[in-house]
């Protein structure tokens, strides 16, 4: 199965009207597209792990060696293991909440590995796989979910901004940052992550427009995981999301978000053109949120199990494993070692989280302002006196 080279930019008219049709059974439509039969979708690996040619994007992954393919596989497996551990830690009461990326590993690892060290990433709160690619210690991601901080890493340490919870806001930060990159004359690029739900936010549209007007080197990477908590795509859009780009004056591409190789290729394409000064691009990574929105969510209230089952057949990790095995790129030794590495990661995450101390109570007053603020000083002193009053009462 080969995707037409121009398909990504010249979608069939019927695609738009199809998505816009109301009353279509959700599962039917999703299943059909998810099977990869839709020519809009850039795909390099079929769900069966078969490598398919794509004249437009093959060149962007022509350099990928067997070793690097194994590396992508390892990234996805470890990310999934980390994610599962975090879900368990939430169930055990060690985390207050967790937003699982289960099912979105290929979109995140493929795009994350497309970034260069000097690129800058603006994530939502679910980009654990991208954080992994950027070299952020995964245990650092857990502080905010445990409730010990609101963002526990230095954004400039790995050019990976803090998680952004309010939907879509970071698209503007990424665009502004990219405007700065352009002003500096740097040849790096910026990538903004968001989801299908965020596509409805005004900030995302404003970001598209600012990026287009200023020709900013920013890539908008939308993981369309089909669900914004309980709301399906039909509640967010009347056109396929990647087509939004056209109205703003830059290209949009829909990629199979469960295909790590295609996600890598398309993101490389977009980042490279941004670095060359050709402006923004929108990538819609068509994928599926296999788990709940967060550990507080109950998907059984709004979606059917058969939908999930259909997507399980296209699992991003399984697909690359099939490819690696068919091509004799990996043997049992590799998979066995990786399994051991996964368990070690899970163990480390567990230990670090359980040992993660509560912050000092005076942290409330820290870093409210960079240059200080009289009221914060006054209230800190009052708080200290109040705390000290207990010590006095206890005769400490």
């Amino acid at each position: 199965m080969t995707v037409e080279s121009t398909a990504a930019r010249k979608p069939r008219r019927s695609a738009g009207s199809k998505a816009g049709t109301t009353g279509t059974k959700r599962t039917t439509r999703t299943t059909k597209k998810a099977q990869g039969t839709d020519p809009e979708l850039v795909q390099l690996l079929t769900p069966e792990g078969e490598r398919v040619e794509n004249a437009e994007y093959d060149g962007y992954v022509a350099d990928i060696t067997a070793d690097e393919l194994r590396g992508l596989y390892r990234d996805m497996v470890l990310t999934r293991r980390f994610d599962a551990e975090a879900t368990s830690l939430q169930r055990q009461g060690e985390l207050g909440l967790w937003a699982s990326l289960l099912g979105q590993e290929a979109a995140q690892i493929g795009s994350g590995r497309a970034t260069r060290e000097d690129d800058y990433v603006f994530p939502t709160y679910r980009e654990h796989g991208v954080a992994w690619c950027r070299g952020v210690d995964p245990t650092n991601l857990l502080g905010m979910f445990r409730g010990v901080n609101n963002g526990g890493w230095d954004p400039n340490g790995n050019n990976f901004h803090l998680y952004t919870i309010v939907i879509g806001s970071q698209a503007l930060h990424a665009t502004g940052y990219a405007m700065g990159v352009a002003k500096d004359g740097a040849d790096s690029a910026v990538i903004a992550y968001f989801g299908d739900g965020a596509s409805s936010q005004g900030d995302v549209s404003e970001a598209f427009n600012f990026a287009a007007v200023y020709n900013a080197p920013v890539v908008f990477f939308c993981q369309n995981n089909q669900w914004a908590i309980s709301e399906s795509n039909e509640k967010q859009t009347r056109v396929p999301l990647y087509q939004r780009a056209q109205g703003f004056g830059f290209p949009g591409v829909r990629v199979d978000g469960n295909d790590v190789l295609a996600s890598l290729a398309v993101t490389r394409w977009a980042l490279e053109r941004a670095r060359r000064g050709e402006g923004p691009a929108l990538i819609e990574a068509y994928t599926y949120r296999m788990g709940a929105h967060t550990t507080s969510d109950d998907p059984s209230r709004y979606r059917h199990d058969d939908e999930r089952a259909a997507w399980e057949a296209k699992d991003p990790i399984l697909r690359l494993r099939r490819h690696l095995e068919a091509a004799n790129h990996a043997d049992e030794g590799f998979f066995g070692e990786l399994e051991a590495e996964s368990e070690a990661l899970g163990k480390r995450v567990r230990e670090v989280v359980r040992a993660m101390p509560d912050p000092d109570r005076f942290a409330i007053f820290e870093n409210v302002y960079a240059d200080g603020h009289a009221l914060v000083d006054e209230e800190r002193a009052q708080f200290a006196a109040y705390q000290a009053s207990f010590a006095d009462a206890e005769g400490v």
Binding site: W153, P155, L172, H173, T175, A178, N367, V368, D371, H373
Partner: protein, 326 residues
Amino acid sequence: MAVEKMALAKAINESLRHALEADPKVLIMGEDVGKLGGVFRVTDGLQKDFGDDRVIDTPLAESGIVGTAIGLALRGYRPVVEIQFDGFVFPAYDQIVTQLAKMHARSLGKVKLPVVVRIPYGGGIGAVEHHSESPEALFAHVAGLKVVSPSNSSDAYWMMQQAVQSDDPVIFFEPKRRYWDKAEVDTEAIPGPLHGARVVREGTDLTLAAYGPMVKLCQEVADAAAEEGRSLEVLDLRSISPVDFDAIQSSVEKTRRLVVVHEAPVFFGSGAEIAARITERCFYHLEAPVLRVGGYHAPYPPARLEEEYLPDLDRVLDAVDRSLAY
């Protein structure tokens, strides 16, 4: 020439010009700030001299303006953004409150957000709806933001210098009805602290505390009261977050009476916070409850009614009389 008489709008213009010259990271962003020089001409001539790469006409999207300014600040720039009118800031309110104010704390101090948001505010110019509002309390309530408002040309010049140099986001409320008032500006002076209040007129019988457009009114009130033999002290607060409570306390311990004046609605306004804190600090000094004069709990009225809505000489004097009657 170090000392020059200039209008308040011109003083901000000169201050921005100086900031652009002094630091290549300073940017001006906003709607119509470039060729037009802003609807109040505050940025007049700056794009011509510094280029459209540094004085940037933006799309008409306030959230976009502030959101991209945050991104630019993360990249190391120091954006000074203009919101064209007070009533237009609300599309950007989310970015200001949710992102701009909190990002330094969220990063545990790792990133700084040196963004200045300029907002021409207040009434008295006969404008149409959404062009005369005073939303400063909505920003002062938010930790992480600093909120200031100059009342005269000299402060406008120096406070803008300090706001641009601040590593914290500063909401800079410009008293639009005073844009054309002229006063001397000494561009080589040593300014006082950005968040310090200033006694602009000494008195013994009662303290009038105000900021921005109401300082001039309070000085006129003090003149009128003096004719009746009453000595009013006028305090220009200059900063609404933080408020210089020490300065108010010092004044009230002397005069024993306080009236706070602002254009914004009295209900949950900055005067309410000042009244509560000063009552707490000066309980045994006060001879009368702290009184407030401001707008009503109603949408800002059509221009033909704004004189009824805004504090004026008689309304402030009425409050002075009520305080002195205790």
